[in-house]
């Protein structure tokens, strides 16, 4: 299943709704990067990049990129007022010390207790964990932003991850093309479904146990 940019932008926009005023936010590589362009009007947000920057802004205009002003995903960004540069030990110091309010990370699999797997596909790809372990384990709130199912249609939200973990019981919320799911102490709770998607569709695309909110919303 190939998913269009429209769907991805809607997912990113939904994730951006979780950004409250004043938050410090780190966006993972890939889909999460899109979140920056959807921050709701009037909310001040400080984006952190783990290579060593606090306070980056939107993508520069084409032709105005600075090769030395780059987020951790390798994409050109701009500098906001109050920004600072530092080395990567300090960047991860902020993360491990619990100073990040929110991170949005991609996922290969999410387990029903919030386990996250996103760095290794056994027998296929070993890209490495990069900074995902620190972010998943240490940010105050972790959103997994991912398509609901894998390319072959198999569920990515599972009772237990089968791929090696990035972090245990790390994810607080899962946002997919189909649904918004909260990780609660009692398990997964379906909070919202995407426009045009039924609760039944979400349930059948999910292999983890999934409770349904009394009154699920729509996004």
């Amino acid at each position: 299943m190939e998913v269009g940019l429209g769907v991805k932008q809607r997912m990113a926009a939904r994730a951006a709704q979780e950004i409250c005023d004043g938050m410090v936010v780190n966006l993972g590589i890939g889909l999460p990067t899109l979140v920056a362009d959807h921050v709701p009007e009037g909310r001040r947000v400080t984006f952190q990049a783990e290579n060593g920057m606090l306070g980056y802004g939107r993508t520069p205009e084409r032709g105005r990129e600075d090769p030395n002003l780059i987020n951790a995903g390798g994409l050109p960004v701009t500098e906001e007022a109050g920004a600072s540069y530092f080395d990567s030990t300090i960047a991860f110091g902020m993360i491990r010390r619990g100073r990040l309010d929110l991170t949005v990370l991609g996922a290969l699999q999410v387990g029903e207790r919030g386990d996250l797997a996103n760095w290794l596909v056994p027998g296929q790809r070993v890209p490495g964990m990069g900074g995902a372990m620190e972010l998943a384990q240490k940010a105050r709130k972790v959103i997994a932003l991912t398509l609901h199912t894998a390319k072959d249609g198999s569920p990515k939200i599972l009772p237990e991850c089968t791929f090696p973990l990035t972090a245990r019981e790390a994810v607080d919320m899962i946002i997919t093309d189909l649904a918004v799911i909260e990780v609660t102490p009692d398990g997964l709770l379906l909070k919202e479904v995407a426009e045009g998607v039924s609760v039944g569709q979400v349930l059948s695309a999910t292999s983890a146990r999934l409770a349904v909110d009394r009154n699920p919303g729509c996004f």
């Binding site: 007022a81 300090i90 619990g98």
Partner: protein
């Protein structure tokens, strides 16, 4: 999902709060700048207080004076040294507000030495570089460090040791954090980005990271955007509150 007790509660964003227990609403103040009396609300008897400075240079004078006047006592102080009797954290010790010190030396404050000898003050010594790294380790969320300094001296006695896979033995030195950390900056912008002044930098940058709640006393407070992002030494994310410095009230030891 953070394992700390400050769970992912969006309402926590209404407060100025470090990763620890102290939380303080600052709705009335733009940015993190607060009057001195607001800063005093975070200090309490029996607390652990970490401070920047080296022989008093770079120790925030206005905060020290305010803490002294507030009357809080039974403090555990963590920092490089005990200052001079009238400089740095020295007055807190002279006025018996401190029950425990974690420092690298007390040689410049004979009162601290006397209180230690008299059993009034517990003092734990770390070699200076080890102490600095223990504080930094706390500041960047590590559990500790491995170091070989003092390994075969009494400074290593009773400490955990570890043999690395290459067969070399190290002392295990645990990370240090504190409920509140206080630092002295030359300049702060209102979001807490800090610059320091020459050798007054010393312990301040890593002490700023190691506080669960960090207060910067700044000689000058400027609007956000005025500091060069390349020059900022302490990123504002580590600073929870900024107070205006009233300057150094003490006479320097060399004067």
């Amino acid at each position: 999902m953070s394992r700390a007790d400050d769970a992912a509660d969006p309402t926590a964003l209404q407060t100025v709060a470090g990763p620890g227990k102290v939380a303080l609403t600052l709705a009335a103040e733009p940015g993190k700048v607060a009057p001195l009396n607001r800063a005093l609300e975070v200090f309490h008897d029996g607390m652990t207080l970490m401070f920047g400075g080296f022989g008093g240079v770079g120790t925030p004078p206005t905060l020290i004076r305010a803490i002294l006047e507030s009357g809080v006592r039974d403090l555990t102080l963590i920092g490089n040294d005990s200052g001079f009797p009238e400089v740095g954290v020295g007055p807190l010790i002279v006025n018996r507000r401190v029950s425990r010190l974690i420092v690298s030396h007390i040689g410049s404050n004979p009162v601290a030495g006397k209180q230690m000898t008299d059993g009034e003050l517990r003092v734990e010594f770390s070699p200076q570089g080890t102490l600095a790294e223990r504080i930094r380790a706390g500041g960047v969320g590590l559990g500790g460090i491995l170091v070989d300094v003092g390994l075969d001296t009494i400074a290593g006695e009773g400490k955990q040791m570890l043999v690395l896979e290459d067969g070399v033995t190290y002392l295990v030195e645990s990370a240090l954090t504190a409920e509140v950390a206080i630092v002295h900056a030359r300049k702060a912008d209102r979001s807490g980005n800090l610059l320091f002044d020459k050798t007054a930098r010393n312990f301040n940058p890593f002490v700023a990271m190691a506080g669960d709640f960090t207060i910067a006393e700044a000689d000058e407070i400027v609007p956000v955007g005025e500091l060069d992002p390349e020059e900022i030494v302490t990123p504002g994310i580590f600073v929870d509150m900024i107070v205006q410095s009233e300057g150094v009230g003490w006479k320097w030891a060399w004067e």
